[in-house]
């Protein structure tokens, strides 16, 4: 019969030679192997100082984007909340008042936008559902905390800063979304 893979080995139950039964040569060989590892490159990444590069498709902490003029893109349509399989998103909608055009892009906006980070499974369906390209998952990590309440992220933490240099870069996500 032909072997199914190149990795099959014929087992031989032969008795060990005297040299093999001495064990000491084998032990010295083993010591040599471990000693070589002493000088190998260490695989450890010293985490807080050095951060590992995420893959482009990594889905971490969410961000609520603003448009180029600094107005919030979200129009509180609720599609993300509907799409969310973990039911982690809560939205309260409100109507834009005259004079708030610089703050909100559409006539309707989210007065409350909360994501429960303990419920969220980071599937990215909210991002896919969003027709206004307002919500994205970034390569950031949700910080740990001792309190459950700290994991409910409201708008004050989710919406990106107005200043152009402090905006959150999601161009990679954007690229992949188009591909899909």
């Amino acid at each position: 019969m032909h072997p199914l893979s190149s990795r099959s080995r014929v087992v031989v139950n032969k008795t060990m030679t005297f040299w093999e039964r001495l064990y000491l040569p084998a032990i010295v060989g083993g010591l040599w192997i471990t000693f070589r590892h002493f000088f190998y490159k260490k695989v450890t990444i010293r985490y807080p100082e050095i951060k590992r590069i995420f893959s482009p498709v990594y889905r971490g902490l969410h961000v609520l984007k603003r448009d180029d003029l600094g107005a919030e893109r979200c129009t509180a349509c609720g599609l993300c909340a509907v799409a969310c399989p973990a039911e982690a998103i809560t939205i309260d909608a409100a109507e834009r008042k005259p004079g708030e055009e610089g703050l909100y892009r559409e006539e309707k906006y989210a007065a409350k936008y909360e994501i429960n980070m303990l419920r969220c499974i980071f599937c990215g369906l909210c991002e896919e559902a969003c027709p206004k390209q307002a919500v994205y998952l970034t390569d950031r990590i949700v910080p740990s905390s001792f309190e459950r309440q700290d994991f409910i992220w409201g708008k004050e933490k989710l919406v990106e800063p107005v200043e152009p240099e402090k905006r959150v870069d999601v161009s990679i996500r954007h690229y992949f979304q188009k591909e899909a």
């Binding site: 083993g30 471990t34 590892h37 002493f38």
Partner: protein, 339 residues
């Protein structure tokens, strides 16, 4: 009076040095384990993780002190104490260096120069198993008892071969005093060259006596949970773990003294140092040899797997013991032949 001050200060010094070395042996173990596995190891507490042993010690003190309900309370506490005491007692007969002269007084760098030092050594080392046995038995836990039984039977099996290896050494040097054995190795006449097989046997038995891998069946996690210290917590557990490192240190010191010339190294007395500084350099050399052996202990631990129980017994009784007897007879025969 002066004699007592001298001796007591030496005892305190040796005790402190032993404890500090055992402390840092735990760090070295973790660091080297990491290096052997391509990791970095503890490096957060202090520069290069040098305060790690301190942090571990503090953690041990703050852990809950727990004694199982049906345990024998007296013996339960006695176990780790005995382990620790037996481990520390061995340091008494080890010659750390040449005599030094302070203010016209000759001071021996050895706590007690027993004329039966080797015998004392063998005796105290075998006492160490009582700590494990008592602790394991008093825990009222089947795993602890199994481990205690293993430890004691292992101790008995390997002490025989170790004793016979020592007898061959004593036949070669003609003295039971550790100081005289070290003195006889002056000028590069290290015993390891005359007793290579004896050294190998002694080395293997030291691993068994110190309960180190590949002979750490007493604390075999895969079979016995934690072994004899399954039920121990807080500093009582710390004592057991600490005693293991002290034993390792002592075994290294004994091997360096008996087989590797102790505080001698070839050419030490030809560099032109004064007697006192030569003695101090000798102490440094002795500690270097000890450090090398301790590294070897750690190196072996992260290389070899653990023996199976029957393999352990077969190695002890069927291989090491006959070899030790053959070595003894051969040594006796040779010394008779060469006068």
């Amino acid at each position: 009076m002066l004699f007592w001050i001298e001796k007591i200060s030496l005892v305190v010094l040796v005790f402190c040095v032993t404890l500090v070395i055992a402390m840092y042996a735990t760090l070295a173990e973790r660091k080297f384990a990491a290096f052997f596995q391509d990791r970095i190891g503890p490096d957060r507490a202090g520069p290069f993780g040098l305060l790690q042993p301190l942090a571990d010690g503090i953690k041990f003190f703050f852990k809950e002190e727990f004694i199982p309900a049906n345990a024998d309370r007296f013996l339960f506490v006695l176990g780790p104490c005995l382990s620790m005491i037996a481990a520390c007692m061995t340091t008494a007969v080890i010659p750390w260096g040449h005599d030094i002269v302070i203010f016209g007084q000759t001071m021996a760098l050895q706590i007690a120069d027993l004329n039966v030092g080797v015998l004392y050594l063998a005796g105290v080392v075998s006492l160490g198993v009582y700590g494990i046995m008592i602790g394991g038995w008093a825990s009222n836990n089947k795993y602890s008892v199994l481990s205690a039984i293993r430890a004691s039977s292992q101790m008995i099996s390997y002490e025989l071969a170790m004793g016979l290896a020592l007898i061959a050494l004593v036949m070669h040097t003609g003295s039971l005093s550790l100081r005289e054995i070290v003195q006889a190795q002056h000028g590069g006449h290290w015993n390891v060259f005359f007793q290579p097989l004896g050294f190998l046997l002694f080395l293997i038995c030291s691993f068994a006596e110190a309960n180190r891998v590949p002979f750490d069946l007493a604390e075999c996690e895969t079979e016995l949970v934690g072994g004899y210290h399954t039920e121990y917590s807080s500093m009582k557990l710390g004592f057991y773990l600490f005693a293991e490192y002290i034993n390792m240190f002592i075994a290294s010191a004994v091997m360096s003294a008996l087989y590797f010339g102790g505080y001698h190294f070839p050419g030490l007395y030809h560099i032109g140092l004064s007697d006192n500084s030569a003695a101090l350099v000798g102490v440094g050399v002795f500690f270097l040899k000890i450090a090398a052996f301790m590294f070897f202990f750690i190196w072996i631990r992260w290389t070899l797997p653990r023996f199976r129980y029957d393999q352990l017994m077969r190695l002890g009784w069927k291989i090491l013991l006959p070899l030790a007897i053959a070595n003894m007879i051969f040594t006796g025969f040779l010394s008779l032949l060469l006068g």
